[in-house]
């Protein structure tokens, strides 16, 4: 990947210019659709943007200098990681990627949740610490099937390049692996029934409890970018259609992402929050089961190449 193309992906599509509006749109769609399913009216579509502007304009709470440095730095790094993860997605038809970009993508996708754990402890709030602990336990829970599914895809494609993984013909491995990735979406996005780390009715907002003003705005933006990146990843790997025309692939990518958001919203509206052991059991039984089958299917045809 050349530098110009990387910067285009970082600041244009699917980076800054695309991701920020679509992140706000996704956050709105989730809220609105959930509200309608609960019989409420829901916010107007510009609400996430207004929330962002309002938070940015707020005065910051004075804290000890190291704490405030951490609390400003962590969400900023989470936002930047979200942008880089988006830039790595193989969306535009001429993106080539580079060997190993799937590893980098997985790492950057994990940054917001990891940083949320750090932020929860840095904020020195009891709710932040409980939320951070829960987030840390959950990340062990869901990363096992998530990473196994990625490994299954990579081993079946014999490549660590996202574009090669997306371009392999669809088979059992891909169906199972993408299904596992889809299963991991609600917990990675902290949606009900896996909204354990930011359970509003128990521990306010978990790791983000002590954050306010611009810092909270950055967390919200990072969360929105997580939405775009994770749904984008599933769409990229699950529906790797190449129309050739830039506009069509853009519409297909954005549209399928939004459809995925609607599915996640239905799940969030129709379920109640689980406990950590229940969530862990679900992911280690069903998620891990699917991922292991995918991994076996992905490794078996190439077994002699691994043995050599």
């Amino acid at each position: 990947m050349s530098w110009e193309k990387f910067f285009l992906a970082l600041f244009g599509f699917p980076g800054l210019l695309y991701a920020v509006p679509i992140a706000w749109l996704m956050l709105w769609l989730e809220r609105k659709f959930r509200a309608r399913m609960q019989g409420r009216m829901g916010p107007p579509f510009y609400q996430p943007f207004f929330d962002f502007v309002k938070l940015m304009a707020k005065r910051q709470v004075l804290r000890p200098s190291f704490d405030s440095l951490l609390m400003m730095g962590l969400p900023l790094v989470a936002v930047s990681a979200g942008f880089v993860a988006l830039a790595l997605l193989p969306v535009s038809s001429d993106s080539r990627g580079f060997a190993g970009d799937v590893v980098l993508l997985v790492a950057f996708l994990e940054v917001p949740s990891l940083w949320a754990v750090l932020a929860g402890f840095a904020s020195r709030s009891i709710f932040g610490q409980v939320g951070a602990t829960r987030e840390a336990i959950l990340s062990i829970t869901y990363n096992l099937p998530f990473l196994t599914a990625i490994v299954a895809l990579a081993s079946s494609a014999q490549s660590l390049r996202l574009i090669d993984i997306a371009a392999t013909p669809t088979g059992g491995v891909r169906v199972l692996a993408v299904l596992t990735l889809g299963l991991c979406l609600p917990v990675k996005l902290r949606l009900t029934p896996f909204s354990i780390s930011n359970a509003e009715q128990e521990i306010y907002s978990g790791p983000a409890t002590e954050f306010s003003g611009p810092q909270l705005a950055m967390w919200e933006l990072a969360h929105g970018l997580e939405w775009v990146a994770l749904t984008g990843l599933v769409v990229c790997l699950g529906f790797p259609f190449r129309t050739g025309l830039w506009v069509f692939s853009f519409i297909l990518f954005a549209g399928l992402s939004l459809v995925l958001v609607i599915f996640l919203t239905i799940l969030a509206a129709g379920t109640a929050r689980l406990k950590i052991p229940q969530a862990a059991r679900f992911y280690w039984r069903w998620g891990m089961g699917l991922a292991v089958v995918a991994l076996i299917l992905g490794v078996l045809p190439n077994i002699e190449r691994f043995c050599r």
Partner: protein, 167 residues
Amino acid sequence: MNIFSILIKNLKVRPITLRFPGEVPHPKDFRGPVKIQEEKCIGCGLCAYVCVSNAIQVIEHKDNCEWAYSPGSCTFCGQCVAVCPVQALGMEGWSAPSYFRAEALNRVHRIPYPLCRECGRPTPPVREAILARAFKEVTLEVLTRSQLCQRCRQRASQRGLVSISKR
């Protein structure tokens, strides 16, 4: 799956919530921001005196008095309206909107002091409502004296006393 049938049913019917704030009617005696009728006010400052949150301030100047009100700090208790001797205060029937700057809704009314009939000095206004409370019947003499400043009023009283003693 019972919950999903409930969700689908909710999607089909109209939302039960209303858009904020316009469509919800305010009740009849709603206590909104305080409003003032300048032509009734006598600038006595009772409203500022009873205001618990210091939302009303009455500042006296040489030829007028300032009635300053900030809804941002008002608790809408209605004490000022109850205490006003001339019923110059009332409350709006709508709630104060949200705003960006704290001072955005602040209002300042100037109550001009009329000039004394005799010496031409500005003097706090005396309205008929307060006269009606103070005197059993508002005679022509009371009315003409109410248009004088304090000093001239004292002099008029002295003149009256002198004329009675001469009689």
